[in-house]
């Protein structure tokens, strides 16, 4: 009699067995805790980061003995004192912070029209072009892009060669602060567009049409309707660009010509050049603190924007 087998196929039996195993491992009475189980990977990941931070905090309190290149057994705040009093670290911190703020502002200004056009255009071809142009840089690493700028903007680069055609002598376009800012803006632009686009998509086009029908011109509609509704996108994009710029290493190292270090470069120097991991750890902790304070300020003043996943105040 093969009918019984057909009535209860093999794959059902397998599913029953799997359900049985699942019930044994995770009984039904634990069902309310299931959502928390889903959080486990994230908790583990964050836990590892916290463990790393604890180790860094421990290292930051130990000083290097340059006669043995061993770290002290005792704790002290000598590294923090150095970090807060040596002019080098103050200069580098100030440069990083100012650059992060400038890059964030400029990137948002450039990213907004790009995102707006990408979301609102009625031409599928243009939208595809803008999307491809947006994602293409992601396939090219930051370092390669920075080296690309060396080729374009170098003394014998394309720009200087073009200038030479009209009689302009080669000029130094790279290895300075503006070049670092330029490189960072170019690197951050896709991130900002990607963060702004969902916020702009969420603004009903009808609202802009309604404003127009009530007599508002394009500028007034833009200022009073689009910009306020796009605020969550600005906040999300701003936070991402601000933190990435503040902690960047490669662009200052490559486009700065060695004289435009950011905090990350100073941390690298301590870890790998002077072997002073204690001071490097101190600078790393201070960078984490600075970034956290800035993000906290933004969240406190403006909410979390798109990062709040629809729960922002905006």
């Amino acid at each position: 009699m093969r009918a019984a087998r057909t009535a209860y196929p093999l794959k059902w039996r397998i599913m029953d067995a799997l359900e049985g195993i699942a019930a044994a491992i995770w009984p039904a009475r634990f069902r309310r805790a299931t959502p928390y189980l889903m959080l486990l990977p994230a908790v583990l990941l964050v836990g590892l980061l916290v463990l790393g931070l604890i180790q860094i905090a421990d290292a930051s309190l130990r000083t290097l003995d340059t006669t043995t290149f061993q770290f002290s057994d005792d704790y002290s705040i000598a590294n923090f004192r150095r970090a807060l009093t040596e002019p080098l670290f103050l200069v580098v911190a100030q440069r990083s912070l100012v650059a992060a703020l400038i890059v964030t502002a400029v990137t948002l200004v450039f990213a907004f029209p790009y995102a707006y056009l990408m979301v609102r255009t009625r031409s599928p071809r243009l939208r595809k072009f803008l999307l491809i142009a947006l994602f293409l840089p992601f396939f090219i690493g930051q370092v390669v892009r920075a080296y690309g700028w060396l080729i374009i903007l170098g003394n014998q680069g394309m720009v200087n060669e073009a200038l030479g055609l009209i009689g302009v002598a080669p000029m130094r376009l790279i290895y300075n602060y503006p070049a670092v800012l330029f490189g960072l803006v170019q690197y951050m632009l896709p991130f900002a567009v990607l963060m702004l686009a969902p916020a702009l998509t969420a603004i009903p086009e009808e609202l802009e049409a309604a404003a127009g029908s009530l007599g508002a011109n394009w500028v007034r509609t833009f200022i009073h309707v689009v910009l306020p509704l796009a605020r969550p996108g600005f906040i999300g994009a701003g936070v991402v660009v601000l933190t990435l710029s503040l902690t960047d290493f490669a662009v200052p190292a490559i486009l700065g010509g060695g004289s435009q270090d950011f905090i990350a470069n100073a941390i690298y120097d301590q870890f790998f050049r002077t072997s002073d991991q204690g001071l490097g750890a101190t600078l790393a902790l201070m960078l984490v603190a600075l970034g956290s304070i800035l993000v906290g300020l933004v969240f406190a003043l403006f909410g979390a924007g798109t990062l709040a996943m629809g729960r922002s105040r905006a």
């Binding site: 290149f69 440069r95 170098g154 060695g258 004289s259 270090d261 790998f272 050049r273």
Partner: protein, 368 residues
Amino acid sequence: MKRFKPTLSHLSRRTFLQATAALGGASALGLRSSYAQEPEKPAEIIVRAWGGSWVDSLKAGVSDSFTKMTGIAVRHDLTEDNEIQPKVWAAVAQNRVPPIHINWDTTTNATKSALRGVTEDLSDLPNLANVTDLAKPAGLEGFPIVNTYGYVYVLAYRPAAFPDGPPKSWKDLLDPKFKGRLAFYNDGIGFHFPAQVAGGGKLEDIPGNMQPAWDFITKMKTQQPLLGEDPDFTTWFQNGEIDAACTISTNAREARKNGVKIEWVVPEEGAKFDTDGLWIPKGLPENELYWAKQYINHALTKEAQQVWLDGLGLPGVVPGLTPPKDLVGDPSYPTTEADFQRLIRISSKIQVENESEWFSKFKAIMQG
């Protein structure tokens, strides 16, 4: 000078000595054979090296001939010297097998590792009997490192930028026409000591009073120099970004090989002379330690040094090496006492103990 590493057992010392003597003899005779006393050969040994012409020269001079002689493949790990250091230190601290067998390192960096106690003693290498004093790391007990050659931080320049003749002094770089056209190492290495002299100070005052050096570097900062690493100098000369640089002569020579018109001098204030070396991290299995030592021993043979250092254009530690044709009489290839008198040598110990402060000071000036 042969001393034994106290942590090795008597048996392994004896085995090592017997086998090294046998291999040394075989090497001298150009024989390729195996010996009953030889420990098991690993499939490969890993040598950390600098890239570009540096690793090419090492491969041509030492690694290929070592493989031919022993049958052991040599893998070159191009991790930066500064970046491999914490990995090795961590491995030794955690009693793990280190990620490399041999570190090709600056003597200053290697001295840090020796002071930390993570280096194997190399005093029992037979070929140390044939090397000059340059091979011995100053201020350290025994041979935790073997210096393998010296190098000079020369003033390299484009002759077209100096139409009145080669620069005579580091002060010549203060000419306003060189603004933005100079380059130094980003931590100032190679320039601190000549700057001390150019700033009116004395070498004897190092490290106690280096204010003349900082004053001179502050003046140099107004020239807005570029700051970089070894590969940057070659690139910058090739791309016409700079007219002059304080760099290791090997980088300048590499640019010249690539068709860039470039010369170099040792200015009247002098130029820093330093050494690089080879060392073995602690924690290797005994057989791998043995073959790693054999690699370094082989690097100290005249044949290996000749090919390796022809590629780098640097003076070795084995007497009787022939300078490359383009470097005969060159100040960056010192061979006589008179040559060395024009160069500045400061002990590794002083450098190691003060390097962090000097780097910070240089950076504070240049980043300010």
